[in-house]
Amino acid sequence: MYLKLALLNLWKYRRRVAVIFAGVVLSVAAMELIGGMLNGMRLTFFSEILGGSGHVQLHARGYEDQLDRYSAANLIEAPDVVVDALREAPHGERVEHAEQLLSFASVLGARGRTAPVVAHGVDPRTRYFPEATENIVAGSFALKERGITISRDDAELLRLEIGDEATILARMPTGVPLVRRLTVGGVFESDHAELGAGVAFMRLSDAQSLLNAADRVSELRVTLRDPYEADDFAASIEPLLDEHGLIARAWREIHGTVIVFVEIADLTAAIINAFVLIVAASVITNAILMTAFDRIATFGALRAIGLKRRQLVGMVVCEGAFVGVAGSLIGLAVAVPVVLYFQTHGLDIGDMGEFFGTSRTYYFSFEAAATARTFIYGVLVASLSALYAGWATARLDLIHSLQEA
């Protein structure tokens, strides 16, 4: 009968209950949408950005002081030994993938024109640089011996087509310039800021022989099973690094600015959520207070016939919690399909993607735990508002309540 009384009271005050209900529905829906959006952002960060850069990058000591990041003067000796060590116990079980890279600044020339490019000597089946490997517009990425894959912008600038020959000019670690002829095997197109024009790929072995740097690389790129272990992992391989004169940079360091964005977005979301909750709480509290103060005489009578203060508060909280549960369910019923829609279809955010270093289409991400949290927030905000309203009415002097009649 308690519950029935609560339900009947809700029905009696359906107008005001509608306000409370709308408050809960809107705030829960807003929180769910914001949560889905930001969760998508976080996932994009991990898959797109970290997918391309790996979680930990190893360089030869002194890398951080180099004026030119792509100078070939400072290379890792005996990278195979390091990679083997990384693949073995105790590190092996945390490492999912490790690759050798030799990146260097160079000049590409053809038909009397030149273009500066950063050339990456990579494994022909490299796991990294998805912006290039996944966006081939001509030929294929599969690097052949003495082959090169270039960006569309550079191909147009140098008037190069698949099968054409180009000259690449680079400096050996000793500073002596070297020239070599390469055949264009693939052209990629990327709207990525750092991987558009001015980037080229060739086989690691070609890069090594071009620079006369056999068995030396500029970087070891590592992907871990758990990206959040990166800092810990970097610390744990300290002895190995010391032994080989290496430094490690974990993704937090590599992507400082992007992470700041992710963190700012998280903070913004927390602030928006807090704001939504505060607005909802005040609207809901007022509406519940009104329904409660309307019934002061009835409440007074109930208390006179033996309803305890605590029970009265319980009754009002019961009403609030009911609206909270129903409203939160409806709010989620509205917002979850939207999140799921944008999870599969994506939302076109245009050039903003470039700004964040991601693609133009932005995918939301549904997370059950976050949704459950949102549900609980919705129920809590209604229940706590009701608790306040119930307390405010129950604390009234019984004599005054009765005189309200």
Binding site: L5, N9, W11, K308, R309
Partner: protein, 232 residues
């Protein structure tokens, strides 16, 4: 032993700097089975006295005993428990729960007391019959006349078999005919079931229903009409 015993009871309401001395030294004894009326002009302190007897209010001075127990110092929840188990209330403005049916309104104190559904049904049916509302069991208070509503309130007041029923101006919102009906019900329940009633009124006409009349003026008992029954 008396059921209610007021000894030199005072009540002062403080309103900021001023204070209202609503009850000024009332001593009164009510025995089980009595039908007592408190009468007096508006503002003389009737409601205040009834509230103190009913554990809704506390005296500022003097003692209020209910069934031998000093009820002036009960905690909020002890007082609520006392009201639930031992005292029934009938209010001037009925104060029924608008969203509940007649049957549910009557059974509400039993729900609070934790009675079983079966008990609720049995007692509820009996009381609805006693106040003549059986055919209105499923109606909401809003669909009833004033006299019918007050009879629902009386049934609700009786449902936990209280030692005492307090009715503060139960007929003030009713015309004299329906007021008479309501008082008839009270008198019958007093006579047949031995329920102790105290009711207040400022209507001289309905005093004939009372076994004893306590006349109040300016918070002081002016006189008592009628005999107090002998202690049994």
């Amino acid at each position: 032993m008396s059921l209610v015993d007021l000894a030199d009871v005072h009540k002062e309401y403080r309103l900021g700097a001023t204070s209202v001395h609503a009850v000024r030294g009332v001593s009164l004894e009510i025995r089980e089975g009595e039908l007592v009326s408190i009468v007096g002009p508006s503002g003389c302190g009737k409601t205040t006295i009834l509230n103190m007897i009913g554990c809704i209010d506390r005296p500022t001075r003097g003692t209020v005993r209910f069934n031998g127990q000093d009820v002036g110092h009960l905690s909020d929840s002890q007082a609520a428990q006392m009201r639930l188990r031992s005292i029934g209330f009938v209010f001037q403005s009925f104060n029924l729960v608008p969203v509940l049916s007649v049957r549910e309104n009557i059974a509400l104190p039993m729900v609070l007391a934790g009675a079983s559904k079966k008990e609720r049904r049995r007692t509820g049916d009996h009381l609805m019959d006693a106040v003549g509302l059986t055919e209105f069991a499923a109606h909401k208070p809003g669909e009833l006349s004033g006299g019918q509503r007050q009879r629902v309130a009386i049934a609700r007041a009786l449902v936990n078999s209280p030692r005492l029923v307090i009715a503060d101006e139960p007929t003030a919102n009713l015309d004299s005919e329906t007021g008479g009906e309501v008082l008839d019900v009270m008198r019958r329940l007093n006579r047949d079931e031995g329920v102790t009633f105290i009711f207040s009124t400022h209507d001289e006409k309905i005093l004939r229903y009372a076994g004893r009349i306590v006349k109040l003026r300016d918070g002081v008992i002016e006189g008592v009409d009628g005999e107090q029954p002998e202690c049994t």
